[in-house]
Amino acid sequence: MTRRRRRVTTCRRGLMGLLAGVVVVAAAGSVGSVRAQIIDTGETAEQARKNEGFNIRKEATKFNDALEDFARYRDKKAWELAFRSLETLAEAKRDGMVPAGNGFFVPSRQRVIASLTSLPPEGKQAFRLFYDAKAKQLLEKAQSAARAAQPSANPADKPVDEIATLREVYEKYFISSVGDRAADRLGDALFETGDFAGAAAAWGSVLKEFPESTLPKLRLHIKRCTALARATQWDRFDDALRQIRTEFAGERVSIGGKEVAAVEYLEQLRSAPATRPALASTKPTTMKSTTGPTTGPTTAPAPEPEIPEPTGPIALPADDTPAWQIKLADESLNRKLANALNMNQWAAQFTNLRGALPSSCTDGRRVYVNWFGIIFAADVKTGKMLWRNRKFSELGDKLQNIVNSGSDVDVYTATVAGGRLYVTGFVFSNLGNYQEPVRLVSMNPRDGKVNWSSTNGSLANYSFLGSPIVVGDVIYAAARQRNGSDVSLLAMGNEKGELMWSVPLGTAQGGNNPYRGEAMVPSALLVASGGTVYAVTNNGAVLAVDTVARRVDWAYTFPAPPVMREQNVWFGGPQPMPKPKQRAAAFVDGGTLYVKEQNGDALYALDLAGPSLLWKRPVDRESTITRLDDGRLLVIGQDLGAIDAKGKTHPMTWSARLPDLLVRLTPIVSGQRVFAFAPRGVFEIDASNGDTARILRGADLDSFGGTLNRAPGRLIAVSNIAVTAYPVSDGPESTSGQQSARPTN
């Protein structure tokens, strides 16, 4: 063979190979367009990073340009041009957020007011020259409307909306000579409508931003504190009270026609039980009986006597004998799981079914388990199964659907609060359907009957993202439109599940289900404190939603954790199994919001009074956190560890390595002990130094470990194969009233 001929042959072979490659790639693409996304996203790493992370609702570029123009002209003291920029800002719709520095975003309305107050005295003077007349006119209009409080003499005239008019003065002309009066009156009007947080903000801005105001300061303080108390914003209340003690010691004020000492009045307000904060609770609370339409049989639960969660130390049993045990998975089911994974090996790479645990919770009376759509309740004392929504064996027939859909089994949750059980998950009969939404269902914890479900009505088009929380009679949950990535906070009535209101939070930048291409939106974690619901998106953002004013107060963004399933596939075979990822955590402790997203690489401590970032520190991606005790945080992951939150560098003070974890861990912190259900038993760890005090091997050693729940006299361990209750002695109740701390499971 000549050299040329060899070359031609080689070329032909190369072309044939290339062609074959193209055919294979094309075939792969036709089989599942998704695979191409795994192989090549077509993005540079830089682009991908920019696109990652929660996209909060931002104002248009024009708005931000006007803000920049204003700042530039203000600094140059070009007042006319600066005010023209302000007019552009005022004309905008102002329903988005604008950057406030250091990763924070604030509503554009708030930013416009901040721009006004940032003017130097000569700028404010110039502003008054330009706008005082208009401001006074608007204020007079609002005051007249309030005074008259009756329809206009001319029926053609539209009734003046007092609040809207006052808000216009407040937002556009706050630094005019009547801005303080407008804000004061706006506070009064908002207070009357029940928007206590809004009222407090209005009075607070006069105190903070209007030093030359002639309005009596003490009175403004009192009004603000009263509003803060009503809004249960106790941290801010306490700050204000400290300031009043210093500045107005011994001063008296007239309230309701009575002269009272200001500090005494506020102290009484602080201690009044009626105004104690109504925190989100996973404990049962006494509730009114429910009536009205439901999607299932009417099962209005009569109030059950509350069983408080024990707060004293836990004494583990002397031996491994459980009080009772319910086996979940048997040999037949395990075989079906293996078959399901084997039958669709490609999809099996993307499912997190292998290392998944049932979600569980307890109200002290029963333990509730959501095992991939099979929901049941067992008596805490006896272990008797009180009810279940279907037979365990039915799960075996659905495992193939779960695998084939590549769906995320972390969507199954169980929460008991206010005498109701809330579960999330896919409708069992629809398992495997394309773009099947995650539903929220309210059940009667006594008999498992459905109170209502999001499968129909106003919630039908939503897919729920994580567990709901319950504050009083309102359920809050994060959800998205079933085929989209826009995330909202929904407020629903707990009786009927009606959608009361919703606040758009932004758009998740998750990616797609690598198997079927559906949009993947991470589950959000909600935490309520002082009238605000904080939504941790697990996508690089936390948003504070004022539940009274029903608006986003602020948002904080940070690098988003990568959104990826447990998939480990690449050419040549599966990659090492990743370590189990603990859930996200967020909690408020003394005016600080601690946030650690699932798979995020840092812990953030946010000062809610600012808001501002107090500090952040790296924490393992797979870990989560919870409150250990005053000033210390517990890191939960392969290594348990304590972080000194009050220390200058927030050091890790001890670490305790656990046996290799196979599933997510949900430990309990009780006093100076941490209890963790690891693969080799229940570890009792001394919280002061991390030493292992004891290991209870228990009766579920074949399992991967998992979740611990606490009920009076019982420690309930929920693993991948069983629910096991151990008899424990509950020590004397904690004098601080501190409850056992545990992250969500």
């Binding site: 996203t41 990826m564 370590k579 991606r621 670490s655 305790a656």
Partner: protein, 302 residues
């Protein structure tokens, strides 16, 4: 040359060739049983009688060795140190807390390496744009947990003690032995580097084997002499002095073939084995034999 001379010469040539060929065949045949045990280039082709003598002494293992790893891995070096330090302290305290006679924990040294950001690795392996990778620090120390076996222990007692050490170590977060393969690549590496033997958690060792070797050498020399005398008697010659002795490979009967192969290579190249490698190991608790092979050449006395 005359034709007669040519014929004579041809006959002589044939006879010489026959003798040479016969000698070669005989020599080859005689050398056959020994050759395999002789080091390369070993004698036996010279004058005299060459034999291979072997000696074997058996003894029960004296030490149980368990390899363990303690690791601290974090983004902050300060965290990695806390994790490593506490994990080590707790593991050592827990093992010492067993109060087992003869338990000793030694360090095989530590390493400080770049840790891996799991999310970054996962993203890269999926062909996706990787998230910004944070640098991590991984502090790793290999621990050697040795348990000296007393003769008074029964097998079951020893087994109990060993398992107690394993349980305690694992409870304390130690990684005992090598981690089993978790994927295709690790499986390949696993089998390329010794396969199932890597799964052994415990090895049983003979230590300080000098005395045993001494006995084995003596037995090997006696064996060689015995063989040589037998050959001399059969050949009808008298056995003379020893001309040369070559030490072949001494291998234990433990199933640590990698160790045996290494020792064979070292013997081949005349490298002295360091004392710690003269330990003979087995993954099974049974008598370990110390074998010595000698290639001895004797002179034929005139």
């Amino acid at each position: 040359m005359k034709p007669e001379n040519r014929r004579t010469s041809g006959r002589r040539m044939s006879a010489v060739l026959l003798v040479v060929l016969s000698s070669v065949v005989l020599a080859a045949a005689a050398a056959l049983p020994v050759r395999a045990e002789e080091p390369a280039g070993g004698g036996g082709g010279g004058e005299g009688i060459s034999v291979a003598g072997s000696g074997e002494v058996k003894a029960k293992p004296k030490v149980v060795e368990i390899n363990a790893t303690v690791t601290g891995d974090a983004e902050l070096a300060a965290d990695a140190i806390v994790k490593y330090r506490d994990a080590r302290r707790r593991a050592v305290d827990a093992l010492n807390g067993l109060k087992l006679e003869g338990l000793k924990i030694d360090s095989n040294g530590f390493s400080v390496a770049q840790g891996v950001d799991s999310a970054q690795m996962q993203a890269m392996m999926q062909g996706n744009a990787a998230p910004a990778g944070k640098q991590r620090v991984s502090v790793t120390e290999q621990l050697k947990v040795n348990l000296t076996v007393s003769d008074r222990y029964k097998d079951e007692e020893l087994m109990d003690m060993v398992l107690k050490v394993l349980d305690t170590g694992r409870d304390a977060g130690l990684v005992i032995g090598k981690t089993p393969p978790r994927n295709y690549y690790e499986m390949q590496m696993y089998y390329n580097s010794g396969g199932a033997q890597q799964g052994n958690l415990v090895s049983f060792k003979l230590v300080e084997t000098d005395g045993l070797r001494e006995q084995a050498y003596k037995l090997a020399m006696d064996d060689a002499k015995k063989k040589a005398e037998r050959l001399a008697n059969l050949a009808g010659v008298k056995l003379g002095r020893i001309i040369s002795v070559k030490d072949a490979v001494a291998v234990g009967s433990g199933n640590n073939s990698a160790n045996g192969a290494q020792m064979a290579m070292m013997a081949m190249y005349g490298v002295a084995m360091p004392p710690e490698q003269q330990e003979l190991t087995s993954s099974v608790f049974k008598e370990i034999s110390v074998k010595v092979n000698l290639a001895v050449q004797f002179e034929i006395a005139k």
